[in-house]
């Protein structure tokens, strides 16, 4: 961005990145010290975890499981975003609907993820559809709640302008409504992505024969801590990469008009 200038502003982003890396290095160092002090299989040092990650990578199971889990995350995430934003918009724009369904939303928001997952497996069987539905049902209420707030605060003066000039509905949605909802949708997407993959692991652990969650359960059975940490760290890295490479640029594109 060219919005900022001056030596202070130029130094900041690079400096921030270094501090971030430094804090990660400190974390790794602390981990190393703790592992040395504990000297137990229950807390392997970073090098052992890295070695385990490399081994699983070479064997091919790590990539396969991450890909399977990512696919579940993607489908559940897309479904929850689509359904959640449509419902949230409707609740935000209609007082009647909001009053009718607000209670439902409160219940849905407070439903423990585990209960939804177990019920979905019981009702729909131990299959892929049940797994994805369980995740989507867990995440959708949050999307509804965030989108509803966004839809409530749409600029009335612009909607009146659109009504007066009789601008076609599709165009109003695309050019006036969606840009105003974009920050809410982005917030829902970012909070939702982290939530989704955490729930996907639980779903896999409880009832799927593959994926990161399933592998963590097998590692648990064999007391393979290095394997658990290796899988977890790789998956966190993948999620952070998605956040940095897809969600952040989207966010920036949506806010471009704000830069003078």
């Amino acid at each position: 961005m060219v919005a900022e200038a001056g030596p202070a502003a130029l130094a900041t982003p690079a400096g921030r990145r270094w501090r971030w890396l430094l804090s990660l290095a400190i974390l790794a160092a602390l981990w190393q010290v703790a592992a040395m002090l504990a000297d137990s299989a229950a807390l392997p040092p970073p090098a052992a975890v890295a070695a385990a990650a490399w081994q699983h990578l070479v064997d091919g199971d790590l990539l396969r499981d991450v890909a399977i889990t990512l696919a579940r995350v993607a489908v559940a995430f897309a479904a929850a975003m689509l359904i959640g934003s449509v419902v949230g918009f409707a609740l935000g724009r209609s007082r009647v609907l909001d009053e009718l369904f607000d209670g439902w939303l409160v219940i849905a928001l407070n439903m423990p993820a585990l209960v939804t997952i177990v019920l979905c497996y019981i009702w729909f069987g131990l299959n892929e559809a049940a797994a994805v539905v369980a995740v989507a049902v867990n995440k959708a209420p949050l999307v509804v709640a965030i989108t509803r707030e966004g839809a409530r605060t749409l600029d009335r003066s612009l909607l009146e302008m659109a009504q007066l000039f009789a601008i076609p509905r599709g165009r109003v949605l695309r050019r006036i409504v969606l840009p105003q909802l974009a920050p809410s949708l982005m917030a829902a997407a970012r909070s939702g992505l982290a939530l989704t993959w955490k729930i996907v692991l639980v779903v896999e652990l409880l009832g799927r024969p593959n994926g990161v969650g399933f592998q963590i359960r097998s590692f648990f059975n064999f007391f393979d801590i290095a394997g658990i940490l290796a899988y977890t760290l790789v998956f966190i890295a993948v999620i952070l990469a998605i956040e940095a490479c897809i969600l952040k640029p989207l966010d920036r594109a949506a806010g471009r008009w704000r830069t003078p």
Partner: protein, 250 residues
């Protein structure tokens, strides 16, 4: 051409306390007529304009469109109401279709915004945004044009040029116009008829036909004479300091 007859229009607001803003307004506007609604703020001018715009749902009374309701309404609101994330050109094209682009560029040039087509509203001054809003209203070639203080916050010379543009558009396309303004001189210089809303009563207290031929010279002494006569009828119509305030804003 679109005429409209308002009969017994009433509107009250309940917050914070009950206030009758319009209390039985009767007003007929002929097709292609240019009517100016004047009076200091708080007399329901904007409310009446919003009712004609179809944006107010809480009023009582009859609204008849003898020639059918307007097909193309346009307005310049008190605030510019431009979409902040669209460029000026896209703001104009929002109310028309892509084919209108050459005309949109022409109108932006006519309101002296050539070169700012790609700018976002937030990058422009209030006066420039207001002129863009005027260009947007003229772009749809409306048959009903509603103007709510369209030229405040423009400096004196610029307001004069925009007034001339408006008068010229009206002479050539003959939309039905309702202009809400506190500026008596502007009202008399532009309109076929000046309508005064009474203080406190929420009714029309005076209608005066302006017989001067179009196009009018804003320096015509007869305009000042009519303004003086209107002020004699209702001294509150003079809002001291408004003109200088408008100049300071610009």
């Amino acid at each position: 051409m679109i005429g409209v007859a308002l009969q017994g229009i009433r509107r009250h607001f309940t917050t914070p306390v009950r206030r009758d803003v319009l209390d039985g307004v009767d007003l007929a506007i002929g097709g292609g007529e240019f009517v100016a609604l004047v009076g200091p703020s708080g007399r329901g001018k904007t409310t009446l304009l919003r009712i004609l715009a179809g944006l107010d749902t809480g009023h009582q009374g009859r609204i008849d469109w003898p020639d059918g309701p307007p097909l193309r309404r346009a307005a310049v609101f008190q605030e510019p109401r431009l979409v902040p994330w669209l460029s000026l050109l896209d703001n104009l094209l929002l109310v028309a279709d892509r084919a209108a682009e050459p005309r949109a560029r022409q109108l932006l040039a006519a309101v002296e915004l050539a070169g700012s087509e790609a700018a976002y509203p937030g990058q422009l001054s209030g006066g420039m945004q207001r002129r863009a809003a005027l260009a947007r209203a003229l772009l749809v070639d409306p048959d009903l044009l509603l103007l709510d203080e369209p030229l405040v916050s423009l400096d004196h010379a610029m307001a004069g040029r925009m007034r001339a543009l408006l008068a010229d558009h009206w002479r050539r396309h003959r939309p039905t116009v309702l202009l809400v303004t506190h500026d008596l001189h502007e009202a008399v210089a532009l309109a076929d008829r000046v309508v005064v809303l009474a203080a406190g009563a929420g009714r029309v207290s005076l209608q005066r036909r302006i017989e001067l031929p179009h196009p009018r010279d804003p320096d015509d002494p007869r305009i000042d004479a009519i303004v003086t006569a209107l002020l004699r009828f209702d001294p509150e119509l003079a809002e001291p300091g408004e003109d200088s305030k408008a100049m300071n804003l610009a």
